[in-house]
Symmetry: C2
Subunit: 421 residues, 2 copies
């Protein structure tokens, strides 16, 4: 949709919100409607899971590795199939395909290889203790993917159709790759959209590819001794107000690797990304970050604190949102949930005064991962661990979410996959 | 090289400078030395142009398009060959290849497709009026490429070897694709490095690919009526202090497309990227930006002003640097060259007071492109054009650089290619 001429806001990130509102599932618009940042609306075919073309892989070609070796190599092991769907500005979205997993072919001039016209999502499929296979709130991932896609000037789509495609892949590959004999385990699902137009001009791609893979990923939520964080150096920040820290675009990740590597060489797991001269705590690596502390003063109220979303510095994490919602529901009266800006100095002060109770990272990859240490400049914050593991609130919250994921409780957030047997 | 434990600076962008200093051509170190952000030094094979393996394309397969149609399609037309060279952390740089231009094969899990582990360069090969083929200061592109590569946690190399590989490609494809019958024309050269490791963990890639293509690109330096700029909206900025605006990494480009597209829909060519509440002028689209103005007061000295490099917000452009150096040399006494922070309000004030003389964008793609208008919020700066074209200083500087590129003068910046006939 061509922005209306008028205020400067039309040029801005609010343009993304406008474009999201224009997508069919959210606006009840024309079902074939899609839009692209460069080129406005059209009535070309939209993403449509009902058109899925299925080409089965030979199931004997790719064996399922045992759990010990599934993540031990330098290459991610994917399942038998992947979803792909191409788009062009002149023909819209093609019929999606579920087909044997294999390489992509891109011209050396493809947009994604030069201009980071790429975004992705991460979610998991969980084999429940009840034998069923579930996704966790996949609608949130699909909607965020649409937002990221539009932010990076790739074509829009109906997020409900993406969700159906993800479910289709899991339905086909789940029974073999996440067998009932492995309750409590998961596969990692990676939807992505990339700009494929073979054109070196710096412009919104006129061709794109959406794809979804399912793969093994190591469990990262219980590192020995807890996650150790190092704050970023003063002269390297992850995201900024007016940037794109809230979108899951590739451009947030590659540039962060240098600081992360240096921190790892010092024995730390991730960077705690601070923002601004005040040193606001934002994200821990590529996860959201939470602390539990007691407020100052005689009353000493317990608070679960995390950075807010309104300045668009951080990702609106599905795990983050679930933590906030569950803690508000289940810990009401016991612990207050606060989304606000807070600084590393506040964390250090709480630590010095014995008010810092727990800290954890929250995200799909690291799930709920207890944090045991934060190094900021020359100061070390050591955070209490119970028996070398999570603190009690971290454990409780993790347990509640885990129960939903693995079917120990029935909950609307746990979306059961109708597996093809 | 593992950073020394010590100050926080070891974790930062100064790490890039350390790594650059470790490269062989710049440090006189071991010739096979290379390093990678994740993994420190090794003595595995470095990038070595003397190992180039040449596989010739059938020259009848790809015809050279006429100049009118070479850039008219939605796909960049490349020459017969490309350079590729793969790297892995366990085997170092492979022997580079010069081979028929064609698609790349990447796994869907390749790092570059998800985390923007990618960087590139842009330079041109010029067919001179003296019949010879030249590059313009390719050593600067090669060195900047090394800096960008290390900033994005891809493997280092000797920039002199990259320069040799670029020259090899132009030597082979120049005679056919940039024939002597087309003096005053150019090919666009695009070296790039991408992370190819098929691994979804957020980490420095353990496999990478360097490639170089040569292609047609439209002339962009003389848009009808001059380049029209629109300042960025308040809530969207290109780069930030502590970020990576100085590196030619993909992550600087994709996120800028949304604002650029919206500006184009309003009839503007590029965004003039302002920074901070002060509104400092930084870049014009993906080019550097210059203004010529007279200072206030009775003396009214002429100044050529452009943003400084020291805060690392902007690219250290080869054209920018050449403009600064030539203007200092050839316009001494007539015009003062100033690299300093300056705001859009200063530009507007100069315009209102009749002191604004000229403005232009400077870069490889747009070369020296006169700017005729800047819209900032509701205010339009109209910049004088001479007969609808460049102002006199813009024309003079453009002429000097063009003369070097196209061999009207012999100059060390014009590197003659030894063509294979």
């Amino acid at each position: 949709m061509i922005p209306q001429k008028g205020s400067a806001e039309d040029l801005t990130s609010t343009a993304v919100e406008q474009k999201i509102a224009e997508q069919p599932a959210l606006s009840n618009g024309h079902p074939n409607f899609h839009s692209n940042g460069a080129n406005g609306a059209s009535t070309l075919p939209g993403l449509d899971a009902s058109k899925l073309i299925i080409t089965r892989a030979d199931p004997t070609v790719r064996p399922v590795p045992d759990e010990a070796t599934a993540c031990s190599g330098t290459e991610t092991i994917c399942t038998d199939h992947m979803i792909t769907c191409s788009w062009s500005i002149s023909t819209g979205w093609s019929a999606p395909e579920l087909k044997p997993y294999g390489p992509l072919t891109l011209m050396p001039t493809a947009s994604v290889l030069h201009y980071a016209t790429e975004c992705f999502e991460g979610l998991k499929a969980y084999r429940g203790y009840d034998g069923r296979l579930r996704l966790f709130r996949p609608d949130l991932n699909a909607k965020r993917m649409l937002m990221s896609t539009l932010r990076i000037s790739l074509p829009g789509f109906d997020p409900a159709e993406l969700e159906k495609l993800i479910l289709a892949l899991v339905a086909v590959d789940g029974p073999k790759w996440l067998p009932r004999s492995r309750p409590g385990s998961f596969l990692y699902l990676r939807p992505a959209v990339i700009g494929t137009q073979p054109q070196l001009g710096v412009q919104a791609p006129k061709e794109a590819l959406l794809f979804v893979t399912a793969s093994f990923m190591a469990r990262l939520d219980a590192p020995s001794g807890g996650m150790r964080l190092h704050t970023n150096p003063d002269d390297m920040i992850r995201a900024w107000v007016g940037g794109f820290g809230y979108a899951k675009v590739g451009a947030n990740y590659g540039p962060s690797l240098l600081a992360t590597n240096a921190a790892r060489e010092r024995g730390f797991g991730q960077i705690l990304w601070l923002y601004g001269p005040e040193g606001y705590c934002t994200e821990a690596g590529a996860s959201n970050f939470f602390v539990v502390w007691r407020t100052k003063g005689p009353e000493g109220r317990l608070q679960l604190v995390t950075a807010p979303l309104d300045d668009k510095l951080i990702l609106d994490g599905v795990t983050r949102r679930s933590v906030v919602e569950l803690a508000r529901e289940k810990l009401a009266g016991e612990l207050e949930v606060v989304e606000r800006k807070y600084t590393i100095d506040e964390v250090i002060e709480a630590n010095k005064e014995g008010r810092l109770v727990e800290a954890f990272a929250a995200g799909t990859a690291y799930f709920i991962c207890p944090v045991s240490q934060i190094r900021h400049r020359d100061y070390d914050v050591h955070i209490p661990m119970v028996k070398g593991e999570s603190g009690q609130y971290t454990s409780k919250i993790k347990g509640w979410i885990s129960d939903i994921m693995y079917g120990n409780v029935q909950h609307p957030w746990g979306v059961v996959v109708d597996e093809q047997q």
